[in-house]
Amino acid sequence: MRSLIAGFIALALSIPAAVQAQELTIYSGRGEALIGPVIKKFEEDTGIKANVRYAGTAELATLLQEEGDQSPADVFWAQDGGALGAIAPLFADLPPEMNQGVAEAFRNVNNKWVPTSGRSRVLVYSKERVQEADLPASIDDLTDPKYKGKVAWAPTNGSFQAFVTAYRVANGDDAAKKWLEGMIANEAKVYKNNGAQIEGIANGEVDFGLVNNYYLGRYLATDPDYPVAMTHFKAGDIGNLLNVAGAGIVKASDNQENAKKFLEYLLSPVAQQYITLQGNEYPVIPGLIVNTTLESFATVQEISPKIDIDQISDLEGTLALLREVGLL
């Protein structure tokens, strides 16, 4: 019995932790179910071994800050722009050529990170209870009394907070506060995240939700009759905000050459095609086969507001505003 215990402990303690220098260490906020195949293909095509730590984007971001220049990570792949902005001081500068092939709407002008996919904010609504005439033209319309108690939102969600930042950048802090207070007065219902909002509509709890474009596709894939549909606001409305997921190279990395190869791989047609078809997100390079559940890229560029993505990674002011109105 005692030797069994000792054996177990010895076995556990001998689990190797050291990673070889030639191997790439990636901290990924994106889930293994989606990007695991991308990583595998990268290893096959380049011969570089990749070790991935899968966890939440926020948790990994705080871990990276805690590790500082002792971080074992080479690359950080984040789910949303907010994390990329927060971690930007820890990223190494990228060669400007990397961002060249990327569509202009997504580019990171400071060359601290590269976008790997785009996601737009959309309005989801109930197919059963909402008529076309009821659809709001602008996101500001949702503060109208006819939508009282019918709209869902998720104030703790990173994409929503990025949207609020964009609203502040586009229309000013006072207008943003007015909109938030208007929505609260209109009894907008708080949900934990985007998926929960869509389910809330299907369950009849609310009629509208503010989510990212790729969620509905996942529900429709398993059930084409799912009673929720999506649409966008009028062209140029701030409610159509285009955001990104992206990756950067950690400054503390001693493997920057391989890290650069990885980022270039993520921008290659192979990886981009996979991400758009499997993940329902917008590719960042032109010339690929379009995912049928998505709007064409031209449409998206036309309807989305012209905002500099770097500006919407400033979260401090947004969080302060959300706290001020009592949402956080």
Partner: protein, 524 residues
């Protein structure tokens, strides 16, 4: 018969006791030191804005309401269940005892999804019965979800206490003219107080720290504010302040429990305690069966039903090889951690029970600290210290095991302490008087009696580790996936159906071990 604990304990505790105590004390203080270090980086203005604001008071009030609700509900389930299993003439006691402990295997997020999944458009009830049930949410939804998988901890404590009670006390009360109900409240319940208190403490601390369930139920509590700081603001300084505030609340819980527990230890009289005669249920039997069935369906049946339903809808998307590897890896860190936890728990409990002093009282409180620290803050504190003191330990299995031990030690302490209090020092005193040394006396007399409670403690720690997530995905060696991180990897991309088979695996595998807790306890 009551006996004072001070008695003749003027000797110094042996090194065997002091070394583990010091290890535990240091391990518990590390996260606290980290949080204080981070909080010193704050500036007063932002502090006022983020930490000292009215909304935080509201969140705190919600947290306390939630905790009280859960403590009430778990007691309403666990106390009758424990009494029925130990004292009544219920048939198939083994089965009922197992069902009372099985919900421990269910991870919190699974229970919450199960309750939610019962209702609504895609709900189980909608599909099979055509009724769209209202979604459980808010305070009631959170209390329900949390109680249904935390009550087993209280059940275990109460059952162990009831088994160790000398029926002579109750018979004396009856012979003096008390009715059965009066006897129960006057004699039995006071003896259950230590078990109740330690069970409430563990459950209460768990509820204070929970974020997953309350987020799904859309009920805003204090841990919400902490999580938002870490995840929304990517901030560690004000999150540290909020964590310290939460720990102040948990400290007050700990101090209240210690004060209520008091220093009077309950002991059986001279001679051996008999087993009490089973009390017949008579006409109450159908009611009892109704109660039991509802509890079992809600706590086990529901999660299993909903998980199986999701799997049936989504089709088999699970790769058995992958699941087996994940399970093997989980066990490989969970088993050593559970064993180390119990080996530290026994000396610490012995020290605090047999050598009362201000230092051992402090240690008694300190062991709960690891459990009280929010898991994300705990993981960051381990990273902080490892990177500064021993970088080669960082993100190794060793550090992960150490983190698990310190976080869940409090769970191992409970059963062992209750049992040691019941055993009392008499056997060791007799052995000493026969010429054996203190250590030999302990091993010869008390240790064999402690074995079953040690097994319970170790298994409790093991099951919690199998479900654990935030510490694992930050501190595990890279590429080392456990069952829980595999579930997370799928749910983070919104692929709930793909996550279901893995979540089911966690429940099934944990259930196997849960069954073990009772198998050994039965042999007394």
């Amino acid at each position: 018969m009551l006996a004072s604990s001070r008695a003749s304990q003027k000797r110094r505790p042996h090194l065997f006791l002091l070394v583990p105590a010091v290890i535990v004390a240091v391990g518990m203080l590390l996260p606290f030191v980290y949080l204080v270090a981070r909080s010193l980086e704050a500036d007063a203005a932002t502090l006022a804005e983020i930490v000292f604001r009215e909304r935080n008071l509201l969140l705190l009030r919600n947290t306390l309401a939630l905790t009280l609700g859960v403590l009430l509900m778990t007691t309403l389930i666990a106390l009758p269940l424990a009494w029925l299993v130990v004292r009544s003439d219920l048939k198939f006691k083994k089965f009922h005892a197992t069902m009372g402990v099985l919900p421990l295997a269910v991870p919190g997020y699974v229970m919450a999804y199960a309750l939610i999944g019962l209702s609504g458009y895609y709900g189980f009830a909608s599909h099979f019965f055509g009724i769209r049930l209202p979604r459980p949410e808010g305070l009631t939804g959170s209390v329900l979800a949390l109680s249904l998988y935390t009550f087993p901890y209280l059940f275990l404590n109460l059952r162990a206490s009831l088994l160790g009670l000398d029926p002579g006390l109750e018979e004396t009360a009856r012979s003096l003219g008390r009715t059965p109900w009066q006897t129960f409240f006057a004699v039995v319940v006071p003896h259950l107080v230590p078990a109740l208190l330690s069970g409430w403490l563990v459950i209460g601390l768990y509820v204070l720290g929970d974020f997953g369930v309350i987020a799904l139920m859309r009920y805003e509590v204090f841990s919400y504010a902490i999580y938002t700081q870490y995840s929304g603001a990517f901030d560690r300084v004000y999150a540290a302040w909020l964590s310290l505030m939460l720990m102040a609340v948990t400290l007050s819980f700990i101090l209240i429990e210690a004060r209520l527990r008091g220093r009077r230890y309950v002991r059986t009289g001279k001679g051996a305690a008999r087993r009490a005669a089973p009390i017949p249920l008579g006409r109450a039997r159908p009611l009892v069966w109704l109660f039991l069935t509802s509890v079992y369906i809600a706590s086990i049946g529901l999660p299993l039903m909903v998980l199986s339903y999701w799997i049936w809808r989504a089709g088999p998307l699970v790769d058995p090889g992958e699941v087996a590897t994940a399970f093997y890896r989980t066990a490989l860190v969970a088993v050593p951690a559970a064993l180390i936890a119990i080996s530290l728990a026994v000396p610490v409990v012995y020290l605090t029970v047999r050598f009362p002093s201000p230092a051992s009282s402090a240690l008694d409180r300190l062991v709960y600290l690891g459990y009280a620290v929010p898991p994300l803050a705990f993981a960051l504190s381990m990273a902080f210290f490892a990177l500064r003191a021993a970088p080669w330990l960082y993100q190794t299995a060793t550090l992960l095991i150490f983190a698990y031990v310190m976080t869940f030690l409090a769970l191992a302490i409970g059963p062992v302490r209750s049992r040691l209090l019941q055993i009392g020092p008499r056997y060791e005193e007799v052995s000493r008087s026969l010429g054996h040394g203190p250590f030999a006396s302990f091993m010869l007399t008390t240790f064999p009696l402690l074995r079953t409670s040690m097994l319970s403690g170790a298994l409790l720690v093991f099951i919690m580790i199998v479900k654990e997530l935030p510490i694992t995905f930050l501190l595990a060696p890279i590429g080392y996936s456990t069952l829980a991180t595999t579930v997370f990897s799928r749910t983070s991309e919104g692929m709930m159906a793909e996550a279901a088979p893995h979540a089911l695996m966690i429940v099934l595998f944990s259930s196997l071990f849960v069954g073990l807790i009772l198998r050994h306890e039965g042999r007394r």
